[in-house]
């Protein structure tokens, strides 16, 4: 599955592709199992997002986001520093729902939980109904895609942290190291995006790093296990 097609799947589900592009994608789907799988997963995520009632977060950060948005007029907001001392995170002028989702993404995107002694606190999932995002700029749509990845990443990290004894320790170590490499790339992209929130390239690059992490997490259980 190439990025060329991957980036069109979401728009395809939203009926936002031009007819010729949709036809080309449908033709591609007849010979690309990976895209069919990705489309199915995306469709499931969207369906789940639309039906998911949500869970109450441990800490309601929206009042602080809202307050900052009123003060900053679209500038960067150091939201997470208030909680964990992490680097500043972009909120900008994005809609309320997306901003809340990105806050979650920042929580989920910087951690790798394999090998921890105990499962971490469950991150609050603020999944945004897709319908709310119609008509927003393409950069924001890309960020919504990243937010979906972040939600999936959080779930996968949680699932893997629940039990890692079956994975070979060397494999776990390597995966941890390389996930930290991806986390650093995500942090780089995040900072770059904060400096230029309207850059479609930076938004897509950020999303790509998130997607890469998601794929690695998703594939982790398939790696061969060598000890019981």
């Amino acid at each position: 599955m190439s990025d060329h097609w991957a980036t069109k799947l979401s728009a395809y589900l939203d009926d936002e592709l031009a007819p010729e592009d949709a036809a080309a994608l449908e033709a591609h789907l007849t010979r690309c199992e990976e895209c069919v799988t990705a489309l199915g997963e995306l469709r499931a995520v969207m369906a789940w997002a639309d039906s998911y009632p949500g869970r109450a977060p441990a800490t309601d950060v929206w009042p602080r986001i809202s307050a900052r948005l009123h003060h900053t007029r679209g500038g960067p907001v150091d939201l997470l520093n208030e909680r964990s001392g992490r680097p500043p995170w972009l909120i900008g002028a994005l809609p309320k729902a997306l901003a809340a989702g990105i806050a979650l993404m920042a929580v989920a995107g910087g951690s790798w939980l394999l090998g921890r002694a105990s499962a971490p606190a469950v991150p609050a999932l603020a999944v945004i109904p897709v319908a709310e995002m119609r008509g927003v700029p393409s950069t924001d749509v890309t960020m919504l895609q990243a937010e979906k990845y972040a939600a999936a990443i959080a779930e996968l990290e949680m699932a893997l942290s629940a039990r890692t004894a079956g994975l070979d320790s060397g494999t776990v170590r390597i995966l941890n190291e390389k996930l930290h490499v991806i986390d650093r790339a995500i942090a780089d992209a995040r900072r770059a995006l904060a400096s230029d929130p309207n850059s479609a390239y930076l938004a897509q690059h950020f999303t790509r790093m998130m997607r890469h992490k998601l794929i690695l997490l998703r594939n982790a259980p398939r790696f061969t296990v060598t000890q019981g």
Partner: protein, 311 residues
């Protein structure tokens, strides 16, 4: 038990230190070799037979299990397909994990000779894998170990967690994925995907209409032809991207970098109306193909193939 599962013709060989056996197979039979640790070397011949040579400890047994059109070769002490763990996510509050424990591991060096057209399925946790002169499909999956393939057609896939992947003279649907390792692809054609988290990607003499190369931390290097309606994507987060294509290339080229420089042999005029943020697009020739080159933190070079340095 394995004997029960196989359900077909089966041979169990108990040998001391060295195994060497040859048996007839259908030339299209899929050869499946699982090895916990050591090495797998596969070569080909024109006979419709498989020869298995293996060096191993006294306590080990090599099992050759033929079921239908598949031949499985592995140690009796370890089965790759018995030790996955599965994660199933049914919703926010339902996560199931099932682990199937492996058997006692073993260390074996295999040398296996197969019909050239036989599809191959090779791998294991700590094993190097080499497949020489193969004509059929190849699928290799290892955790820690290097992978080398010469030949291969149809679906050619290689995956490592830690290890380098080198593929030469392959054609078809080529997918090479490493988490921590370099990827080298030479003299190849077909649809190509090369992806590594931490490593360099080097593609030499590529003839393809669909190439995607991606590294999070590593350089990307490509030389090859550009087909009329081909799509080419070269992307790294932290590294340089160097692309060598023919002077007569006809393509629409998109370049993006956050903190890097772009240089090219191609004459072009930057249309400022098409510069958006850190990305711009220009065309050479009629612009039929699409080439995307991105290096978030690295330099980008787009050069004439004729100026490519010698290997």
């Amino acid at each position: 038990m394995l004997m029960t599962i196989a359900g077909g013709i089966m041979a169990a060989l108990t040998l001391v230190q060295q195994t060497d056996t040859t048996f007839a197979v259908d030339p299209a039979a899929r050869i499946n070799v699982s090895n916990y640790a050591g090495g797998i070397v596969v070569r080909t011949w024109t006979r419709n037979a498989v020869r298995v040579q293996a060096s191993h400890s006294r306590r080990d047994q090599i099992i050759v299990d033929r079921a239908g059109a598949e031949v499985r070769i592995r140690s009796a002490n370890w089965r790759r397909d018995a030790d996955h763990f599965d994660v199933q996510i049914d919703g926010p509050d339902r996560v199931g994990v099932q682990i199937r424990s492996p058997r006692r591991p073993s260390i074996i060096d295999y040398e296996i000779t197969v019909p050239a057209s036989a599809p191959l399925d090779l791998g294991g946790p700590y094993t190097d894998v080499t497949a020489e002169g193969v004509n059929g499909e190849v699928s290799i999956k290892v955790n820690e170990g290097d992978v080398s393939i010469r030949g291969g057609s149809g679906r050619v896939t290689a995956q490592t967690v830690e290890g380098d992947i080198t593929v030469r003279r392959a054609q078809g649907n080529i997918r090479l994925v490493s988490v921590d390792g370099d990827i080298t692809l030479e003299d190849a054609s077909g649809d190509i995907l090369a992806e590594t988290t931490d490593g360099e990607i080097r593609m030499v003499n590529i003839n393809s209409s669909n190439v995607e190369a991606f590294s999070v931390d590593g350089d990307v290097w490509f030389s090859g032809t550009i087909q009329a309606r081909g799509r080419y994507s070269f992307n790294t987060h932290d590294g340089d991207v160097t692309v060598y294509v023919p002077r007569a290339t006809s393509a629409r080229i998109t370049v993006a970098t956050f903190d890097g420089e772009f240089s090219t042999d191609f004459p072009f005029t930057l249309d400022t109306r098409r510069v958006r943020g850190h990305r711009f697009t220009f065309s050479v020739g009629s612009g039929a193909a699409e080439i995307d080159v991105e290096a978030f933190d690295g330099d980008i070079e787009l050069r004439y193939l004729e100026r490519r340095p010698a290997r």
